[in-house]
Symmetry: C2
Amino acid sequence: MEGRRTYLDHAATTPMRAGAIEAMLPHLAGRFGNPSGAHAEARRARRALEDARDRTAALLGADPAEVVFTSGGTEADNLAVAGGWEAAAALGPPPRALVCTAMEHHAVLHACRALALRTGAELREVRPGKDGIVDPGALAEACTPEVGLVSVMSVNNEIGTVQPMGALAAVVRDGSPRAVLHTDAVQAVPWLEVGALTAAADLVAVSAHKFGGPQGVGALVVRGSTGLSPLHRGGGQERERRSGTHNVAGVVAMAVALSATDAERPVTAARVARR
Amino acid sequence: MEGRRTYLDHAATTPMRAGAIEAMLPHLAGRFGNPSGAHAEARRARRALEDARDRTAALLGADPAEVVFTSGGTEADNLAVAGGWEAAAALGPPPRALVCTAMEHHAVLHACRALALRTGAELREVRPGKDGIVDPGALAEACTPEVGLVSVMSVNNEIGTVQPMGALAAVVRDGSPRAVLHTDAVQAVPWLEVGALTAAADLVAVSAHKFGGPQGVGALVVRGSTGLSPLHRGGGQERERRSGTHNVAGVVAMAVALSATDAERPVTAARVARR
């Protein structure tokens, strides 16, 4: 018997939404342009880019100027860890420690370990409880005043546990007032209101291909006055926070996929709550 | 009179080639998959990725294992400068200087300046002659044994001058035997045999949207035993040299665009030579 094959690995990657593909196509074909230029084609590309930024920002609970487009979740996480730390370090005496959970995706965990090696800072890896949830008390023990960066993922990519971000953020603000708080929200977007994460953290990383957008596109939300040193230097795009010619088709498609995901979220969340 | 508008800013970005768009579409729509997984969809994506790598490598005069896919030229340049330096530094006593030309694209120039600031190494910026060409004698003055990295762009993005890469490479090998030699070939692909650059340098950066491929995709060729520390850590893709879920549609389209560009090159080059 020929069986119907059902794809169940949406945590690895999702099929693109038809609307996202459709939105992408004109920017691949006729409507090309480099948004950093000055002529008509460039301005047209820039309008598409900034429209996508406005939509993305609104859906993530951020201002447009707070959205930094990246090549995906891994770049966003690495930018948050290295760039967030460097900016925090520039503001006063060098911080001497950073904190993450022991179950972070390697994009955060390995970035933190490399940073600790490079700077000599101490990395404190907080273990979650047996239920996969980080206990605010355990995080509080690690969050001392000399901490420059804290990273706690919103939703785990393997076991799906959701961290109590508001309570954890309060612990960080209390114990480590200098620290930049990053959350890897790459697996959170289909399930949680990202605005609540953006309200709690200083940096929030998302990846388009986890919610029906294309591979190779993501974003880092950089809240308010949070500093961020760039990983990629060059043309000074994204207000000097991420250089490189924009992937216009990609960010346009990400905005469409995010919008559709946001609209479906009440149903998605209710389905999960019933389990 | 209604005039026909002619686009003349191909140095900024190019329209995508029809064949590249066509090759991209199935990977955006039905044939999605994360090449890092183990099931049928993942393996199919991995086959497409590795096929694109084989084609890209052959067209760049490299082995498939020497091709590192990136999010574009800026990332490739930053990876080359920071990652090339760090790998060179790991091999012996810390190098104390790095060299680039004063007319590098900012993706190289600003990456070099940031590296010098961060490490305390001296940055030597070699000025080209009035003709826009770097004199091998001027480069030789900067290339002393304590140099860890040298970066010379193949073709300038504003004035189009082509550097004598073979002669310059000989100068680097002679004066700075420890140095990793990088060339930003982002503007070179339509005009020069990239294989000749790959034969001369240790690292070669290219960007798809400069030759009819999509924005947001590029590659760094990392020759033979050249070490390279990653900028993006995480899933360990690209043999630990560049983590992040692959942009499968993007690299497939880049390979097609590169192949078409390579086929046209004799005609393109002859047209330029006639000027």
